[in-house]
Symmetry: none
């Protein structure tokens, strides 16, 4: 078995995708999830290009990843500058990332036309940059931009660039099909040639412009590459990068002789895929291979019994091997295994009848747009409600929100917003009013005012993230929305809650109330 390393660049190359925009907290959350999933390398960003990425690495320096090696991305030094004097390289030093990934030019054409330096200067830029980071104790991965185009046009020069990287101490040399235009047979051939030219282990980095990113990745691995770079869900510029979900699933389940993630983690790929879509507030691709909701959906009058009898006739792999499910039985996202895992954690798995009711309710709610992947607190409350062990800490009598924009010269200042909340709390009526920056903020303010005398601990809890997602977007402004709120306690613990409604105010109210109820239940436990 050959160990194949997975190198995730969702947070850097994936963030180049159209419509992809991760906040700092999003990036931290995804990095920790990838760490937990056992990815070998997690590329967190390009600290020289923006303060958000620089801050990301500061956060990781304080609390490092447990398993994955964090990688900071940057370019070779500028022409005619010493590494120690290059601000881009110094931002990589400042990142404290244990692995530095350096991209450099392979193609003589790009050296002359894009970089506009001599061929020798490019070789020096590669060698000196890598040697510099090695000298200060970092591991260096060298990404060869336009590797295949470069090798095809001038193999001798391309070989010199990777030789320079190898001699300077790069731990991996990664062949990038930068514009996504190569064919599998070319990838296979040139990977063999590269392997013959240098002793450093090779990696492969492909893009999907020809709809061949996965085939190209597999072709390179078959030809000797031992590292696969890609992104979760194939996010990335233009047509995206190789989807690490499909790459890992193919290597683990379809090809033989390769070791990637262990089977328990391969079985969590669907969950990982959904998590990244949710965190990034991105539209899921329903027919995504392996993990899409349609990937094991059977249509067209096929008997469920027939599918059950010879399941492998209609399914190239058992859906549960990647954490997916046959659509006819259970909803796609939460899935039976997640529900069992969660209720087991809550000590409720023995109660088969409760389990069945939880499963049914989750399916019902998912059909209405709920998702519990990022809302484990709402899920816990749902289970308690169904188990009959939940007593609400307050009841709603009424809320009322008004928002008025007085127009004219003030039209662009935004509206004045006020919310009133009337609750029944421990037998007392609490009727409070608050202004806010928007309807949800005003509601949150009034709700907290109504509860603070009864539950002073709520002051320790803060809302750290608020996300809104349109579900059936074709209904435009009449569409249902899903609101996901993330809250944090004074001790740093965070939890997510969810609400769904056609009205963003009501959906937010639901998620706000769940967040507060979860905190109050937690404090009692």
């Amino acid at each position: 078995m050959t160990k194949i390393e997975l190198y995730d660049t969702t947070l850097r190359d994936g963030a180049q995708g159209e419509g992809v925009n991760f906040s700092l907290e999003d990036k931290i959350a995804i990095a920790r999830r990838l760490d937990d999933m056992g990815f070998d390398f997690v590329e967190g960003g390009f600290p020289g290009s923006n303060p958000k990425d620089a801050e990301f690495f500061q956060r990781l320096a304080k609390e490092p990843l447990k398993h994955s090696k964090a990688c900071a991305f940057g370019m070779t030094r500028r022409k005619g500058v010493k590494p120690a004097d290059d601000p881009g390289l110094q931002s990589l030093v400042a990142s404290e990332a244990p692995v530095i990934t350096i991209v450099g030019k392979t193609s003589d054409f790009h050296v002359a036309e894009v970089l506009r330096v001599s061929e020798q200067e490019n070789l020096d830029m590669i060698a000196e940059t890598i040697a510099y980071f090695v000298s200060i104790g970092r591991e260096v991965i060298y990404d060869c931009e336009h590797f295949f185009d470069g090798w095809k046009s001038n193999p001798a020069y391309a070989a010199k660039t990777i030789q320079a990287a190898a001699d300077a101490g790069a731990m991996r040399i990664v062949m990038c099909d930068t514009n996504g235009g190569s064919l599998p047979e070319e990838i296979a051939q040139l990977t063999k040639e590269a392997a013959a030219a240098v002793a450093v282990p090779l990696g492969i980095h492909t893009h999907n412009d020809s709809e061949l990113a996965i085939a190209n990745t597999l072709a390179a691995v078959d030809a000797g590459a031992i590292q696969v770079q890609g992104t979760i869900n194939g996010l990335g510029e233009r047509c995206g990068n190789a989807d690490l979900i499909s790459a890992a699933a193919n290597l683990a389940l379809k090809k033989t002789g390769y070791q990637v993630l262990d089977p328990e983690r391969i079985a969590r790929l669907a969950e990982l895929s959904g998590y990244v879509y949710e965190i990034g507030n991105l539209l899921r691709r329903n027919n995504q291979p392996f993990v899409g909701p349609s990937a094991f959906a059977h249509k067209g009058g096929m008997h469920v019994a027939a599918v059950n009898r010879v399941a492998h006739s209609y399914e190239h792999i058992p859906p549960e091997s990647v954490g997916n499910e046959r659509r006819v039985l259970v909803s796609e996202l939460s899935g039976r295994s997640n529900i069992i895992a969660t209720t087991t954690k809550m000590g409720l798995a023995e109660d088969k009848d409760l389990m069945a009711r939880v499963l049914e309710e989750v399916v019902n709610r998912e059909n209405r747009g709920y998702q519990y992947e990022a809302a484990e607190a709402s899920f816990a409350l749902l289970v308690r409600r169904l188990a009959g062990t939940f007593t609400p800490h307050f009841d709603l009598e009424k809320y009322h929100v008004t928002s008025e924009n007085r127009g004219g010269a003030h039209a662009h200042e935004g509206p004045l917003t006020e919310a009133t909340v009337k609750l029944l709390v421990a037998g007392e009526v609490e009727h409070r009013v608050a202004e806010g920056d928007g309807p949800i903020n005003a509601l949150d303010g009034a709700l907290r005012k109504a509860l603070k005398d009864h539950y002073p601990n709520l002051a320790k809890m803060s809302l750290v993230d608020y996300k809104v997602r349109v579900i059936n977007s074709e209904a435009a402004t009449a569409a249902s929305v899903r609101v996901v709120i993330e809250s944090r306690d004074a001790d740093g613990q965070t939890w997510g809650t969810v609400g769904v409604d056609e009205n963003v105010i009501q959906a937010s109210w639901e998620a706000l109330c769940d967040s507060i109820e979860y905190k109050l239940c937690k404090d009692e436990a």
Copy 2:
């Protein structure tokens, strides 16, 4: 040059995709478009399975396709029944389709476990069905279900099934990777073995379950298959069929030695892709290879600078060769060069002073959370405002939104929401009120009421997508939100607008107003 036939099954296998539902008129329209595009075969449906497909062939019988051969799909005869007595086969006869495509079993396992007939009976079913249609003057294409799995498990029996089809007079034998689980190296090897077993030309029919449909198609062609089956945009059950757009583009533009559609028609692939999405009312996949709106979109600042200098560095083919176009995204990661490229396209690059003001304003707005990459209409309005060439079509006097949840038993029904809008339009005061499913829907309704008498064309425009994104999510419910709205005109043209505010109502109002202003400016131009 080897001629490779394109066999489109969008209207049959594609229609099995989740959410795909073509009306009779849709099917006719797509068939005629495929005919016009020069596809060799157009599979129109399964007339034995439903009246719509039967009617489709009656319509084509009255007015046949000009270039493409229409194919009707069906199964081998039932066991123990003569072809002339089989109702399914007789519906194929009645279709009057010049080509009959028959699917049959290749795998001994499926013969025994699914079909539940003897191995000899299966061979007879294949042979007699094909011979029957040949005897009445039809051409027959034989689709081998589970070809690769069947051949792997029992090559001798699989070979007998295709020999039976060949002897009975099939014009093509099509190897189907029915569950989408095969790898390119397996496809290549078994295609060679099949070619050695029969003299009839081979076809390939793949599914994308392993994200290898295109690679598998190309592998089969390289190994000798001369017909490619697939669907436009890869529509189809589970993860979809091979996308004929990608297959044709790769064969025509990337591989050598194959002749498919002529270059003028390859240059209309983007148009064809969009047409099928529109007719089917399906969500476009933005990062679709070759033809997606993101396929030649450049976001990273470094790349954009280089693209303008040497376009082919970051584009594997010229976008216009498939009828697509280069797009430069205005985004936080990009910087100056992207904005210059966009304003150049608008014909404003000469005005250096305006350019500087646009750049400054975009930077300011991006710092406040605006993003223009999916909001090109808001960007165009921004440029016009700065250029002094924009005159608003209405002015806001006031809007007022209220939302009330009366609690108690009704707490979970959600609030009642009402919006009033008071505008100054062409010197008249318009003051209207609407209820809605939520605050934005109510505002949209009142705004349209206030404008409809002045601008009746607005009735032709609809909102097709509404997205909300929290920007500085660490401020939780006081965070700014970015709203992006996508609108569509009666002619199918779409445009995006953006609004940012701490109040989701105000942000939505801004995006709504930009959308309407853009439509009104567009109609005047």
